[in-house]
Protein backbone atom coordinates (compact mmCIF):
# COMPACT_ATOMS: atom_id res chain seq x y z
CA UNK A 1 0.00 0.00 0.00
CA UNK A 2 2.86 2.35 0.89
CA UNK A 3 4.55 1.52 -2.40
CA UNK A 4 1.43 2.46 -4.26
CA UNK A 5 1.66 5.93 -2.70
CA UNK A 6 5.38 6.40 -3.35
CA UNK A 7 5.59 5.00 -6.85
CA UNK A 8 3.74 6.51 -9.74
CA UNK A 9 4.73 3.93 -12.34
CA UNK A 10 5.41 0.25 -11.60
CA UNK A 11 6.09 -2.55 -14.04
CA UNK A 12 6.31 -6.17 -12.95
CA UNK A 13 7.71 -8.79 -15.35
CA UNK A 14 6.29 -6.96 -18.33
CA UNK A 15 6.87 -8.40 -21.78
CA UNK A 16 5.56 -7.42 -25.17
CA UNK A 17 5.58 -9.66 -28.19
CA UNK A 18 4.31 -8.54 -31.59
CA UNK A 19 2.89 -11.26 -33.77
CA UNK A 20 4.15 -13.57 -34.98
CA UNK A 21 7.23 -13.75 -32.75
CA UNK A 22 8.87 -10.35 -32.47
CA UNK A 23 9.90 -9.83 -28.85
CA UNK A 24 9.93 -6.05 -28.22
CA UNK A 25 10.25 -6.13 -24.42
CA UNK A 26 11.28 -8.95 -22.11
CA UNK A 27 10.67 -9.18 -18.37
CA UNK A 28 10.79 -5.47 -17.54
CA UNK A 29 10.69 -4.58 -13.85
CA UNK A 30 10.62 -0.88 -13.04
CA UNK A 31 9.52 1.47 -10.31
CA UNK A 32 9.40 5.20 -10.89
CA UNK A 33 8.66 7.50 -8.00
CA UNK A 34 6.11 10.27 -7.81
CA UNK A 35 7.68 13.51 -9.08
CA UNK A 36 10.72 11.74 -10.46
CA UNK A 37 12.30 12.56 -13.82
CA UNK A 38 13.68 9.53 -15.63
CA UNK A 39 15.41 9.15 -18.96
CA UNK A 40 14.78 6.03 -20.95
CA UNK A 41 17.88 5.52 -23.05
CA UNK A 42 18.88 3.09 -25.73
CA UNK A 43 19.46 2.78 -29.46
CA UNK A 44 16.64 2.62 -31.99
CA UNK A 45 14.71 -0.63 -31.64
CA UNK A 46 15.68 -1.06 -27.99
CA UNK A 47 12.02 -0.89 -26.93
CA UNK A 48 11.77 2.67 -25.58
CA UNK A 49 8.72 3.64 -27.61
CA UNK A 50 7.02 0.29 -26.95
CA UNK A 51 7.51 0.81 -23.23
CA UNK A 52 5.93 4.27 -23.41
CA UNK A 53 3.06 2.89 -25.51
CA UNK A 54 2.39 0.29 -22.82
CA UNK A 55 2.17 3.06 -20.23
CA UNK A 56 -0.47 5.07 -22.08
CA UNK A 57 -2.06 1.86 -23.32
CA UNK A 58 -1.60 2.30 -27.03
CA UNK A 59 -0.38 -1.28 -26.66
CA UNK A 60 -1.37 -4.02 -24.26
CA UNK A 61 1.38 -6.01 -22.56
CA UNK A 62 1.63 -9.66 -23.55
CA UNK A 63 2.70 -10.54 -20.05
CA UNK A 64 3.21 -8.96 -16.64
CA UNK A 65 1.49 -6.20 -14.70
CA UNK A 66 1.57 -2.40 -14.95
CA UNK A 67 0.41 -0.09 -12.18
CA UNK A 68 -0.07 3.65 -12.62
CA UNK A 69 -0.57 5.49 -9.36
CA UNK A 70 -1.31 2.12 -7.77
CA UNK A 71 -4.01 1.22 -10.28
CA UNK A 72 -3.60 -1.82 -12.47
CA UNK A 73 -3.84 -0.75 -16.13
CA UNK A 74 -2.78 -4.06 -17.66
CA UNK A 75 -6.26 -4.89 -18.98
CA UNK A 76 -8.55 -1.95 -19.68
CA UNK A 77 -11.62 -1.40 -21.83
CA UNK A 78 -11.88 1.67 -24.09
CA UNK A 79 -13.43 3.77 -21.31
CA UNK A 80 -10.64 2.80 -18.94
CA UNK A 81 -8.03 3.71 -21.54
CA UNK A 82 -9.65 7.12 -22.11
CA UNK A 83 -9.66 7.74 -18.32
CA UNK A 84 -6.00 6.69 -18.03
CA UNK A 85 -4.93 9.04 -20.81
CA UNK A 86 -6.48 11.99 -19.02
CA UNK A 87 -3.87 11.36 -16.32
CA UNK A 88 -0.98 11.33 -18.78
CA UNK A 89 0.42 14.17 -20.87
CA UNK A 90 2.10 13.04 -24.09
CA UNK A 91 4.87 14.73 -26.05
CA UNK A 92 6.08 13.27 -29.34
CA UNK A 93 9.10 13.78 -31.53
CA UNK A 94 6.92 14.81 -34.49
CA UNK A 95 4.81 17.21 -32.33
CA UNK A 96 1.48 15.84 -33.64
CA UNK A 97 -0.24 19.21 -33.85
CA UNK A 98 -3.31 19.76 -36.00
CA UNK A 99 -2.28 22.06 -38.85
CA UNK A 100 -5.73 23.63 -39.36
CA UNK A 101 -5.97 24.74 -35.73
CA UNK A 102 -4.07 27.61 -34.14
CA UNK A 103 -1.56 27.01 -31.37
CA UNK A 104 -4.18 28.05 -28.84
CA UNK A 105 -6.84 25.78 -30.33
CA UNK A 106 -4.44 22.84 -30.39
CA UNK A 107 -3.82 23.20 -26.69
CA UNK A 108 -7.45 23.93 -25.79
CA UNK A 109 -8.68 20.89 -27.76
CA UNK A 110 -7.09 18.53 -25.23
CA UNK A 111 -8.97 20.24 -22.40
CA UNK A 112 -12.27 20.49 -24.26
CA UNK A 113 -12.46 16.78 -25.08
CA UNK A 114 -12.32 15.91 -21.41
CA UNK A 115 -15.18 18.29 -20.64
CA UNK A 116 -13.60 21.65 -19.82
CA UNK A 117 -15.84 24.51 -21.04
CA UNK A 118 -14.56 26.29 -24.15
CA UNK A 119 -13.91 29.63 -22.49
CA UNK A 120 -12.07 28.07 -19.58
CA UNK A 121 -10.01 25.80 -21.83
CA UNK A 122 -9.00 28.75 -24.01
CA UNK A 123 -8.01 30.83 -20.99
CA UNK A 124 -5.95 27.97 -19.59
CA UNK A 125 -4.34 27.26 -22.96
CA UNK A 126 -3.40 30.93 -23.32
CA UNK A 127 -1.88 31.01 -19.81
CA UNK A 128 0.21 27.94 -20.57
CA UNK A 129 1.39 29.27 -23.91
CA UNK A 130 2.35 32.53 -22.21
CA UNK A 131 4.29 30.61 -19.55
CA UNK A 132 6.09 28.71 -22.30
CA UNK A 133 7.08 31.93 -24.08
CA UNK A 134 4.50 31.86 -26.87
CA UNK A 135 2.46 34.84 -25.78
CA UNK A 136 2.65 36.48 -29.20
CA UNK A 137 2.33 33.31 -31.23
CA UNK A 138 -0.84 31.79 -29.81
CA UNK A 139 -2.90 32.55 -32.90
CA UNK A 140 -0.33 31.14 -35.31
CA UNK A 141 -0.91 27.90 -37.18
CA UNK A 142 1.63 25.17 -36.38
CA UNK A 143 3.22 25.22 -39.83
CA UNK A 144 4.19 28.87 -39.38
CA UNK A 145 5.99 28.07 -36.10
CA UNK A 146 9.60 26.90 -35.71
CA UNK A 147 10.30 23.35 -34.53
CA UNK A 148 11.08 24.55 -31.01
CA UNK A 149 7.88 26.58 -30.90
CA UNK A 150 5.82 23.66 -32.15
CA UNK A 151 7.28 21.44 -29.46
CA UNK A 152 6.43 24.07 -26.84
CA UNK A 153 2.83 24.05 -28.09
CA UNK A 154 2.85 20.24 -27.81
CA UNK A 155 4.18 20.51 -24.25
CA UNK A 156 1.46 23.02 -23.40
CA UNK A 157 -1.10 20.57 -24.76
CA UNK A 158 0.39 17.80 -22.64
CA UNK A 159 0.08 19.97 -19.54
CA UNK A 160 -3.33 21.55 -20.07
CA UNK A 161 -5.19 18.91 -18.03
CA UNK A 162 -2.61 19.05 -15.19
CA UNK A 163 -1.60 15.40 -15.57
CA UNK A 164 0.48 13.78 -12.80
CA UNK A 165 2.57 12.03 -15.47
CA UNK A 166 4.20 13.30 -18.66
CA UNK A 167 5.62 10.85 -21.17
CA UNK A 168 7.88 12.28 -23.87
CA UNK A 169 9.08 10.20 -26.79
CA UNK A 170 12.26 11.69 -28.30
CA UNK A 171 10.99 15.23 -27.63
CA UNK A 172 14.17 16.83 -28.98
CA UNK A 173 14.63 14.47 -31.92
CA UNK A 174 13.47 17.00 -34.53
CA UNK A 175 14.99 20.08 -32.94
CA UNK A 176 18.24 21.99 -33.39
CA UNK A 177 20.56 22.03 -30.32
CA UNK A 178 19.29 25.38 -29.09
CA UNK A 179 15.62 24.41 -29.33
CA UNK A 180 16.41 21.01 -27.81
CA UNK A 181 18.03 22.74 -24.88
CA UNK A 182 15.03 24.98 -24.43
CA UNK A 183 12.64 22.02 -24.54
CA UNK A 184 14.62 20.09 -21.95
CA UNK A 185 14.66 23.07 -19.60
CA UNK A 186 10.90 23.30 -19.93
CA UNK A 187 10.43 19.63 -19.12
CA UNK A 188 12.66 19.97 -16.08
CA UNK A 189 10.64 22.99 -14.98
CA UNK A 190 7.42 21.00 -15.20
CA UNK A 191 8.87 18.57 -12.72
CA UNK A 192 8.88 21.33 -10.12
CA UNK A 193 5.10 20.96 -9.96
CA UNK A 194 5.54 17.36 -8.79
CA UNK A 195 4.86 15.83 -12.15
CA UNK A 196 6.45 12.46 -12.90
CA UNK A 197 8.31 12.67 -16.18
CA UNK A 198 9.59 9.85 -18.35
CA UNK A 199 11.61 10.87 -21.38
CA UNK A 200 12.68 8.41 -24.05
CA UNK A 201 15.80 9.51 -25.89
CA UNK A 202 18.70 7.98 -27.77
CA UNK A 203 20.77 11.15 -27.32
CA UNK A 204 23.27 10.22 -24.60
CA UNK A 205 24.91 13.65 -24.61
CA UNK A 206 21.59 15.27 -23.83
CA UNK A 207 20.87 12.74 -21.10
CA UNK A 208 24.27 13.33 -19.54
CA UNK A 209 23.67 17.06 -19.56
CA UNK A 210 20.27 16.94 -17.93
CA UNK A 211 20.12 13.41 -16.66
CA UNK A 212 19.14 12.35 -13.27
CA UNK A 213 18.09 8.73 -13.30
CA UNK A 214 18.67 6.84 -16.53
CA UNK A 215 17.25 3.49 -17.46
CA UNK A 216 19.03 1.97 -20.41
CA UNK A 217 17.21 -0.51 -22.59
CA UNK A 218 18.97 -2.94 -24.87
CA UNK A 219 17.17 -5.45 -27.07
CA UNK A 220 14.01 -5.10 -25.05
CA UNK A 221 15.60 -5.64 -21.65
CA UNK A 222 16.71 -3.27 -18.89
CA UNK A 223 20.48 -3.14 -19.30
CA UNK A 224 21.25 -0.43 -16.70
CA UNK A 225 19.44 1.60 -14.08
CA UNK A 226 21.94 4.26 -13.18
CA UNK A 227 20.24 5.89 -10.22
CA UNK A 228 18.25 4.60 -7.36
CA UNK A 229 14.51 5.24 -7.28
CA UNK A 230 13.81 8.62 -5.79
CA UNK A 231 10.86 8.89 -3.39
CA UNK A 232 8.29 11.65 -3.68
CA UNK A 233 9.73 15.12 -3.59
CA UNK A 234 13.30 13.94 -3.23
CA UNK A 235 16.09 15.24 -5.36
CA UNK A 236 17.60 12.79 -7.83
Amino acid sequence: MQNALVFMIQLFHVSKTYPPKSQALTDINLEIGRGEIVFLAGPSGAGKTTLLKLLFRAEEPSDGRILIDGKNITRLNSRGIARLRREIGLVFQEFRLLPRLSALENVALAAEVVGMPRKESHTKAYQLLRELGLKDRYEAKPLTLSGGEQQRVAIARALVNDPPIVLADEPTGNLDPEAADETMKLLLKIREKGTTILIASHDLELIKRYGSRMIALRQGRVADDLHRVTPAGGAP
Binding site: S78, R79, A82, R118
Partner: protein
Protein backbone atom coordinates in the same frame (compact mmCIF):
# COMPACT_ATOMS: atom_id res chain seq x y z
CA UNK B 1 -20.59 14.84 -23.06
CA UNK B 2 -19.49 18.37 -24.06
CA UNK B 3 -22.38 19.22 -26.41
CA UNK B 4 -20.89 22.54 -27.51
CA UNK B 5 -17.71 20.78 -28.61
CA UNK B 6 -19.71 18.22 -30.63
CA UNK B 7 -21.79 20.94 -32.30
CA UNK B 8 -18.67 22.92 -33.23
CA UNK B 9 -17.05 19.85 -34.76
CA UNK B 10 -20.20 19.07 -36.77
CA UNK B 11 -20.36 22.64 -38.00
CA UNK B 12 -16.76 22.68 -39.11
CA UNK B 13 -17.06 19.26 -40.78
CA UNK B 14 -20.18 20.33 -42.67
CA UNK B 15 -18.30 23.41 -43.82
CA UNK B 16 -15.12 21.60 -44.81
CA UNK B 17 -16.81 18.69 -46.62
CA UNK B 18 -19.81 20.67 -47.84
CA UNK B 19 -19.95 19.18 -51.35
CA UNK B 20 -19.57 15.62 -50.24
CA UNK B 21 -22.31 16.12 -47.63
CA UNK B 22 -24.56 17.77 -50.21
CA UNK B 23 -24.06 14.98 -52.72
CA UNK B 24 -24.91 12.37 -50.10
CA UNK B 25 -27.99 14.31 -49.06
CA UNK B 26 -29.06 14.61 -52.69
CA UNK B 27 -28.66 10.85 -53.22
CA UNK B 28 -30.66 10.12 -50.11
CA UNK B 29 -33.25 12.68 -51.21
CA UNK B 30 -33.62 10.85 -54.53
CA UNK B 31 -34.40 7.57 -52.75
CA UNK B 32 -36.83 9.32 -50.43
CA UNK B 33 -38.40 11.12 -53.40
CA UNK B 34 -39.15 7.85 -55.20
CA UNK B 35 -40.54 6.36 -52.01
CA UNK B 36 -42.58 9.49 -51.37
CA UNK B 37 -43.92 9.47 -54.94
CA UNK B 38 -45.23 5.95 -54.35
CA UNK B 39 -46.77 7.15 -51.12
CA UNK B 40 -48.60 9.93 -52.98
CA UNK B 41 -49.73 7.44 -55.63
CA UNK B 42 -50.95 5.01 -53.00
CA UNK B 43 -52.72 7.76 -51.09
CA UNK B 44 -54.56 8.91 -54.22
CA UNK B 45 -55.40 5.39 -55.34
CA UNK B 46 -56.76 4.67 -51.90
CA UNK B 47 -58.79 7.85 -52.05
CA UNK B 48 -60.04 6.94 -55.52
CA UNK B 49 -60.99 3.47 -54.31
CA UNK B 50 -62.81 4.88 -51.33
CA UNK B 51 -64.86 6.93 -53.77
CA UNK B 52 -65.51 3.84 -55.86
CA UNK B 53 -66.26 1.91 -52.73
CA UNK B 54 -69.33 4.05 -52.17
CA UNK B 55 -70.67 2.47 -55.32
CA UNK B 56 -69.80 -1.06 -54.29
CA UNK B 57 -72.87 -2.60 -52.81
CA UNK B 58 -74.11 -6.04 -51.93
CA UNK B 59 -77.51 -6.99 -53.36
CA UNK B 60 -79.55 -9.43 -51.33
CA UNK B 61 -82.54 -10.98 -53.15
CA UNK B 62 -85.38 -12.15 -50.96
CA UNK B 63 -87.50 -15.25 -51.36
CA UNK B 64 -90.85 -14.43 -52.94
CA UNK B 65 -92.71 -16.11 -50.10
CA UNK B 66 -91.14 -13.89 -47.44
CA UNK B 67 -93.79 -11.78 -45.73
CA UNK B 68 -93.29 -8.00 -45.72
CA UNK B 69 -93.09 -7.93 -41.89
CA UNK B 70 -90.39 -10.64 -41.90
CA UNK B 71 -88.48 -8.72 -44.60
CA UNK B 72 -88.48 -5.60 -42.41
CA UNK B 73 -87.30 -7.61 -39.41
CA UNK B 74 -84.50 -9.11 -41.51
CA UNK B 75 -83.55 -5.64 -42.76
CA UNK B 76 -83.35 -4.33 -39.20
CA UNK B 77 -81.14 -7.28 -38.28
CA UNK B 78 -78.81 -6.75 -41.24
CA UNK B 79 -78.45 -3.08 -40.33
CA UNK B 80 -76.87 -4.19 -37.04
CA UNK B 81 -74.02 -6.01 -38.84
CA UNK B 82 -70.71 -4.21 -38.19
CA UNK B 83 -69.84 -4.11 -41.92
CA UNK B 84 -73.07 -2.43 -42.95
CA UNK B 85 -73.13 1.31 -43.47
CA UNK B 86 -76.59 1.56 -45.10
CA UNK B 87 -79.22 -0.94 -46.13
CA UNK B 88 -82.22 -0.10 -48.30
CA UNK B 89 -85.27 -2.22 -48.97
CA UNK B 90 -86.27 -2.35 -52.67
CA UNK B 91 -89.76 -3.77 -52.97
CA UNK B 92 -90.95 -5.74 -56.02
CA UNK B 93 -92.86 -2.70 -57.25
CA UNK B 94 -89.89 -0.41 -56.78
CA UNK B 95 -87.62 -2.90 -58.56
CA UNK B 96 -90.08 -3.07 -61.48
CA UNK B 97 -90.24 0.73 -61.69
CA UNK B 98 -86.45 1.08 -61.53
CA UNK B 99 -85.98 -1.57 -64.21
CA UNK B 100 -88.47 0.08 -66.52
CA UNK B 101 -86.84 3.44 -66.00
CA UNK B 102 -83.44 1.94 -66.75
CA UNK B 103 -84.71 0.48 -70.04
CA UNK B 104 -86.09 3.86 -71.05
CA UNK B 105 -87.37 3.78 -74.61
CA UNK B 106 -87.07 0.00 -74.69
CA UNK B 107 -89.36 -0.41 -71.68
CA UNK B 108 -92.10 -1.71 -73.95
CA UNK B 109 -90.14 -4.97 -74.03
CA UNK B 110 -91.52 -5.63 -70.58
CA UNK B 111 -95.13 -5.43 -71.75
CA UNK B 112 -96.96 -8.62 -70.94
CA UNK B 113 -94.73 -9.56 -68.02
CA UNK B 114 -96.24 -9.57 -64.54
CA UNK B 115 -94.92 -6.70 -62.32
CA UNK B 116 -93.94 -9.16 -59.59
CA UNK B 117 -91.48 -10.97 -61.83
CA UNK B 118 -88.56 -9.24 -60.07
CA UNK B 119 -87.81 -10.22 -56.49
CA UNK B 120 -87.70 -7.68 -53.68
CA UNK B 121 -84.19 -7.05 -52.41
CA UNK B 122 -81.92 -5.19 -49.99
CA UNK B 123 -79.17 -2.89 -51.30
CA UNK B 124 -76.40 -2.89 -48.76
CA UNK B 125 -73.58 -0.30 -48.71
CA UNK B 126 -70.52 -1.20 -46.70
CA UNK B 127 -68.36 0.82 -44.35
CA UNK B 128 -64.98 1.79 -45.97
CA UNK B 129 -63.00 -0.52 -43.71
CA UNK B 130 -65.00 -3.53 -44.92
CA UNK B 131 -64.77 -2.99 -48.66
CA UNK B 132 -62.06 -5.62 -49.18
CA UNK B 133 -62.79 -8.65 -51.36
CA UNK B 134 -62.40 -11.36 -48.69
CA UNK B 135 -64.46 -9.40 -46.15
CA UNK B 136 -67.31 -8.95 -48.61
CA UNK B 137 -67.17 -12.66 -49.49
CA UNK B 138 -67.47 -13.56 -45.79
CA UNK B 139 -70.41 -11.20 -45.36
CA UNK B 140 -72.09 -12.71 -48.43
CA UNK B 141 -71.69 -16.22 -46.97
CA UNK B 142 -73.19 -15.08 -43.69
CA UNK B 143 -76.13 -13.44 -45.47
CA UNK B 144 -76.79 -16.56 -47.53
CA UNK B 145 -77.35 -18.49 -44.31
CA UNK B 146 -80.11 -16.10 -43.20
CA UNK B 147 -83.68 -17.35 -43.55
CA UNK B 148 -85.66 -15.73 -46.38
CA UNK B 149 -82.66 -14.81 -48.53
CA UNK B 150 -82.67 -16.42 -51.99
CA UNK B 151 -79.41 -15.05 -53.41
CA UNK B 152 -76.58 -12.62 -52.66
CA UNK B 153 -74.65 -10.74 -55.35
CA UNK B 154 -71.71 -8.37 -55.23
CA UNK B 155 -69.15 -7.10 -57.78
CA UNK B 156 -66.56 -9.64 -56.70
CA UNK B 157 -64.12 -9.22 -59.57
CA UNK B 158 -64.05 -5.44 -59.30
CA UNK B 159 -63.50 -5.45 -55.60
CA UNK B 160 -60.71 -7.99 -55.79
CA UNK B 161 -58.94 -6.29 -58.68
CA UNK B 162 -58.99 -2.88 -57.08
CA UNK B 163 -57.72 -4.26 -53.80
CA UNK B 164 -54.94 -5.97 -55.72
CA UNK B 165 -53.85 -2.71 -57.39
CA UNK B 166 -53.54 -0.99 -54.02
CA UNK B 167 -51.64 -3.95 -52.63
CA UNK B 168 -49.29 -3.98 -55.64
CA UNK B 169 -48.51 -0.26 -55.24
CA UNK B 170 -47.90 -0.79 -51.55
CA UNK B 171 -45.49 -3.68 -52.20
CA UNK B 172 -43.73 -1.88 -55.01
CA UNK B 173 -43.26 1.11 -52.74
CA UNK B 174 -41.51 -0.95 -50.08
CA UNK B 175 -39.58 -3.10 -52.55
CA UNK B 176 -38.21 -0.20 -54.58
CA UNK B 177 -37.86 1.93 -51.45
CA UNK B 178 -35.96 -0.89 -49.73
CA UNK B 179 -33.44 -1.21 -52.57
CA UNK B 180 -32.95 2.56 -52.76
CA UNK B 181 -32.65 2.90 -49.00
CA UNK B 182 -30.02 0.19 -48.92
CA UNK B 183 -28.04 2.08 -51.56
CA UNK B 184 -28.46 5.33 -49.61
CA UNK B 185 -27.34 3.58 -46.42
CA UNK B 186 -24.04 2.55 -48.02
CA UNK B 187 -23.54 5.99 -49.57
CA UNK B 188 -23.96 7.63 -46.16
CA UNK B 189 -21.47 5.10 -44.79
CA UNK B 190 -18.97 6.07 -47.49
CA UNK B 191 -19.36 9.80 -46.81
CA UNK B 192 -18.82 9.23 -43.12
CA UNK B 193 -15.73 7.16 -43.93
CA UNK B 194 -14.50 10.08 -46.01
CA UNK B 195 -15.17 12.45 -43.12
CA UNK B 196 -13.35 10.08 -40.74
CA UNK B 197 -10.34 9.86 -43.06
CA UNK B 198 -10.28 13.64 -43.43
CA UNK B 199 -10.16 13.97 -39.66
CA UNK B 200 -8.06 10.95 -38.79
CA UNK B 201 -5.25 13.07 -37.35
CA UNK B 202 -7.72 14.89 -35.14
CA UNK B 203 -9.32 11.63 -34.01
CA UNK B 204 -5.91 10.21 -33.12
CA UNK B 205 -5.03 13.29 -31.08
CA UNK B 206 -8.41 13.16 -29.35
CA UNK B 207 -7.81 9.52 -28.46
CA UNK B 208 -4.35 10.31 -27.12
CA UNK B 209 -5.61 13.05 -24.84
CA UNK B 210 -8.36 10.86 -23.40
CA UNK B 211 -11.52 11.62 -25.39
CA UNK B 212 -14.18 8.97 -24.91
CA UNK B 213 -15.29 6.79 -27.80
CA UNK B 214 -18.77 8.36 -27.61
CA UNK B 215 -17.35 11.86 -27.95
CA UNK B 216 -15.33 10.83 -30.99
CA UNK B 217 -18.29 9.14 -32.64
CA UNK B 218 -21.06 11.61 -31.74
CA UNK B 219 -20.22 14.28 -34.35
CA UNK B 220 -20.22 11.74 -37.19
CA UNK B 221 -23.58 10.29 -36.13
CA UNK B 222 -25.01 13.80 -35.81
CA UNK B 223 -23.70 14.66 -39.28
CA UNK B 224 -25.45 11.57 -40.68
CA UNK B 225 -28.69 12.54 -38.98
CA UNK B 226 -28.51 16.09 -40.33
CA UNK B 227 -27.87 14.77 -43.84
CA UNK B 228 -30.83 12.41 -43.51
CA UNK B 229 -33.29 15.01 -42.26
CA UNK B 230 -32.10 17.51 -44.88
CA UNK B 231 -32.59 14.83 -47.55
CA UNK B 232 -36.09 14.12 -46.21
CA UNK B 233 -37.03 17.81 -46.25
CA UNK B 234 -35.59 18.27 -49.75
CA UNK B 235 -37.46 15.25 -51.12
CA UNK B 236 -40.73 16.53 -49.63
CA UNK B 237 -40.15 19.95 -51.21
CA UNK B 238 -39.48 18.34 -54.62
CA UNK B 239 -42.56 16.13 -54.28
CA UNK B 240 -44.66 19.17 -53.43
CA UNK B 241 -43.34 21.09 -56.44
CA UNK B 242 -43.99 18.15 -58.75
CA UNK B 243 -47.45 17.62 -57.26
CA UNK B 244 -48.41 21.26 -57.77
CA UNK B 245 -47.17 21.31 -61.35
CA UNK B 246 -49.05 18.07 -62.12
CA UNK B 247 -52.22 19.49 -60.62
CA UNK B 248 -51.92 22.66 -62.68
CA UNK B 249 -51.36 20.69 -65.86
CA UNK B 250 -54.36 18.48 -65.18
CA UNK B 251 -56.51 21.50 -64.46
CA UNK B 252 -55.50 23.22 -67.69
CA UNK B 253 -55.87 20.08 -69.83
CA UNK B 254 -59.51 19.73 -68.78
CA UNK B 255 -59.39 16.17 -70.02
CA UNK B 256 -60.36 12.96 -68.37
CA UNK B 257 -59.52 14.16 -64.92
CA UNK B 258 -62.25 16.65 -64.26
CA UNK B 259 -61.36 17.75 -60.74
CA UNK B 260 -57.62 17.93 -60.02
CA UNK B 261 -58.38 19.59 -56.68
CA UNK B 262 -59.37 16.12 -55.55
CA UNK B 263 -55.74 15.02 -55.84
CA UNK B 264 -54.24 14.62 -52.40
CA UNK B 265 -50.70 15.29 -51.21
CA UNK B 266 -49.04 13.44 -48.33
CA UNK B 267 -50.67 13.90 -44.97
CA UNK B 268 -48.66 15.03 -41.93
CA UNK B 269 -48.03 11.46 -40.80
CA UNK B 270 -46.50 10.52 -44.14
CA UNK B 271 -44.35 13.67 -44.16
CA UNK B 272 -43.12 12.79 -40.68
CA UNK B 273 -42.44 9.23 -41.85
CA UNK B 274 -40.22 10.49 -44.71
CA UNK B 275 -38.26 12.69 -42.31
CA UNK B 276 -37.87 9.86 -39.81
CA UNK B 277 -36.71 7.45 -42.52
CA UNK B 278 -34.11 10.02 -43.62
CA UNK B 279 -33.00 10.56 -40.04
CA UNK B 280 -32.70 6.84 -39.38
CA UNK B 281 -30.88 6.19 -42.66
CA UNK B 282 -28.32 8.88 -41.80
CA UNK B 283 -27.79 7.65 -38.25
CA UNK B 284 -27.61 3.97 -39.24
CA UNK B 285 -25.22 4.62 -42.15
CA UNK B 286 -22.89 6.61 -39.86
CA UNK B 287 -22.96 4.04 -37.09
CA UNK B 288 -22.26 1.26 -39.58
CA UNK B 289 -19.18 3.09 -40.93
CA UNK B 290 -18.00 4.00 -37.42
CA UNK B 291 -18.38 0.43 -36.17
CA UNK B 292 -15.88 -0.69 -38.78
CA UNK B 293 -13.49 2.17 -38.05
CA UNK B 294 -13.66 1.78 -34.30
CA UNK B 295 -12.70 -1.85 -34.81
CA UNK B 296 -9.68 -0.62 -36.74
CA UNK B 297 -8.74 1.87 -34.03
CA UNK B 298 -8.84 -0.81 -31.40
CA UNK B 299 -6.75 -3.33 -33.28
Amino acid sequence: MPIGFVVRRVRSSLRELLWSHMLTSATMAMSLFVFGAFMVLQENLQHFLTGLGDQIQVNVYLEKELAAADALRLLARIRTFPEVERARHVTQEQAWRDFKAALGAQSSLLDGLPPDVLPSSFEISLKPAFRDGPVIAQLADRLKKEKGIAAVEYPQEWVERLSLVVLAVQWLKWLLGGVLFLAAFFIVGSTVKLAILARQDEIEIMQLVGASEELIQAPFVLEGMIQGVAAGAFSIACLWALFQSLRRQLASSGGWFASPEQLRFLDLESIALLLVIGWLLGAAGSLFALRRFVRTWKS
